[in-house]
């Protein structure tokens, strides 16, 4: 899981540089920096045949699930070798059905009812598969969220609803937008099981997710898993997040999920610094390789685009 977190962190850092320093990439992009433990922890608890509905802040989900970096980076560059052949962009880059990530929507909250539908199909299939979906604190205020949660609860669908509560929906503080005390409290409205975990502690996330997944597999219905975490940077890549108080940012920096996990592993002698260094080196190389790959890839010719409107 450490490796996954490091991969996410370095990939996102590289992407940020491509946007801000190098000016190579343009457009909206929502980085996963700071939230690595949620994706790495939750997704690691899934089986290979479980399914995921991601979001526009999905680079982390994709990497945690093992989507290769090359097509991810190529999609950000809008190239034909990208996960969506360059037609989707950053907000849909995690769509990778080959690894079970069925969709990523740019509309806040719209993935929730879709995830319920995925759960419905899995329930029908009867193979004890589970659907997992991610969304932020802001999404829990949308109509689609409520409708999807309610339906999942009423039909006891095998879905784990993971809320990545990073305390801010863009610049709107969660405590100003959410009527309940916490996101987890919302589950009560649907009589759905709720769990909460420290979103910056990858092991805690993993254990909670594992429990929620197991419940779903047993047919005991959905769980709302609230993971409290924090974004290192703003909502989108250009957002400087000056609306966040400096002390708060500092406070959370001290709780960096990667740093704390590395420290724990080193202390418990489950890993050595040399291993960590080796991982960093390999990750750096594969991230750089993905940039080279992306830069040298072609773009789809426009004439081919109309082939993608309908399935034939």
């Amino acid at each position: 899981m450490l490796r996954k977190m490091i991969e996410i962190r370095r990939f996102e850092e590289r992407v940020e540089r491509l946007f801000l320093q190098e000016g190579t990439l343009i457009g909206p992009s929502h980085l996963y920096l700071g939230q690595e433990a949620v994706a790495a922890g939750a997704i690691s608890a899934l089986n290979d045949d479980d399914l995921i509905v991601s979001t526009y802040r999905g680079h982390g989900h994709a990497i945690a699930r093992g989507v290769p970096l090359n097509p991810l980076m190529a999609e950000l560059f809008g190239k034909a070798t990208g996960t969506c052949k360059g037609l989707g962009g950053s907000m849909h880059v995690s769509i990778f059905p080959e690894k079970g990530i069925l969709y990523a929507s740019a509309i806040v909250g719209s993935g929730v009812p879709i995830a319920a539908g995925v759960g419905l199909a899995l329930q029908q299939a009867g193979k004890r598969q589970v659907a997992m979906t991610f969304f932020g604190d802001g999404a829990t205020n949308t109509g689609a969220f409520h409708e999807g949660m309610n339906l999942a609860a009423v039909w006891k669908l095998p879905v784990v609803f993971v809320c990545e509560n990073n305390l801010y929906a863009m610049s709107t503080r969660a405590d100003k937008a959410i009527a309940t005390e916490s996101v987890a409290d919302r589950a009560e409205a649907y009589r759905m099981r709720a769990m909460a975990a420290d979103g910056n502690d990858v092991v805690a996330v993993f254990l909670s997710a594992e429990e929620a997944i197991e419940n779903a597999r047993k047919g005991e219905g959905p769980t709302l898993l609230e993971c409290i975490t924090y974004k290192l940077k703003g909502h989108g890549v250009y957002d400087k997040a000056e609306y966040r108080p400096k002390e708060e940012v500092e406070e959370w920096r001290k709780r960096d999920p990667i740093d704390t996990f590395e420290a724990k592993l080193l202390k418990m002698k489950l890993t050595a610094q040399a291993d960590i260094d080796r991982i960093e080196k390999e990750v750096a190389a594969s991230v750089e390789e993905s940039v080279t790959f992306a830069k040298s890839s072609p773009i789809l010719p426009f004439e081919e685009l109309s082939n993608f409107v309908y399935a034939r």
């Binding site: 769509i95 879709i114 319920a116």
Partner: protein, 324 residues
Amino acid sequence: MPELTYAEALRQALREEMLRDPRVILMGEEIGVFEGVYKVTRGLLKEFGPERVRDTPISEAAIAGAAVGAALAGLKPVAEIMYMDFVTICLDQIATNAAKMRFMSGGKLKVPFVLRTQYSLGRMHGAQHSQFYPSIFFQVPGLKVVLPSTPHDAKGLLKASIREDNPVVFVESGALYRTKGPVPEEEYLLPLGQCDIKRKGDDLTIVAVSRVVGEALTAAAKLEEQGVSAEVIDPRTIQPLDKNTIVESVKKTGRLIIASDDVKSGGIGSEISAIVVEEAFDSLDAPILRVASADMPIPFSPPLEQAYMPNAQKIMEAAKKLIG
């Protein structure tokens, strides 16, 4: 050949497809226990059980969204939105998500589901329970939009829509549910994206959809008595539209009327009109006329609603304007 009602024809289509393919499931409000507000799903809950015929809460976004998700994950859901007016509640799921998913994913995703809905224009349901506006979907390519006008067409088109690999918005006409028509006993499918020439003629082309097809045929019969031979074309699918059949017909007759229940401005007629001017300009012997609903919300009072809607009389008046 047996005569079935439009509703019964739809019911048979659903049932046959559910028997044929276990992946087909139904979801919607009141479709199970109540057997559907228009009885289209009568008996299906009993036959297929609650796993496959699912009554939902009043959650259009969830109904449409869950249908999308289930389709992504391998099922073939047929979701019902009780009134076309409610489609706007779940427009995000249909227009922003479903229509675009294949394209946005570079062709990786397939979303094979049918969204059945109906419009009740003509039944005094008032402004918020009568709207017919399939033309909004012209703006989000990626969906197929199907409009059956007879029991025969309804069955064949619904079966074909369920077997489609693309999201289909299937718009039924509430006013037609109780109308009867011949429906073959053997299995048949009707192709999507192809016009049906319901009546051949030489002097005038009338393109009509859904409920108005009947009105157009009535008008055509009356015009025949006056020596005017009208060709009536039912596109059946407006997206993708079989424009060739329409263009060839106009090249033959030189005159075109487009008749539909949607509001005139920005309706189906506007799009077809533009296509025909572009592709058959030199064949036009007269301007193109649209016979459609008035540019206003639907009035409740029955005679006012009738005055608001298109009918055979209005089609004939348009024909007179063209021919003189």
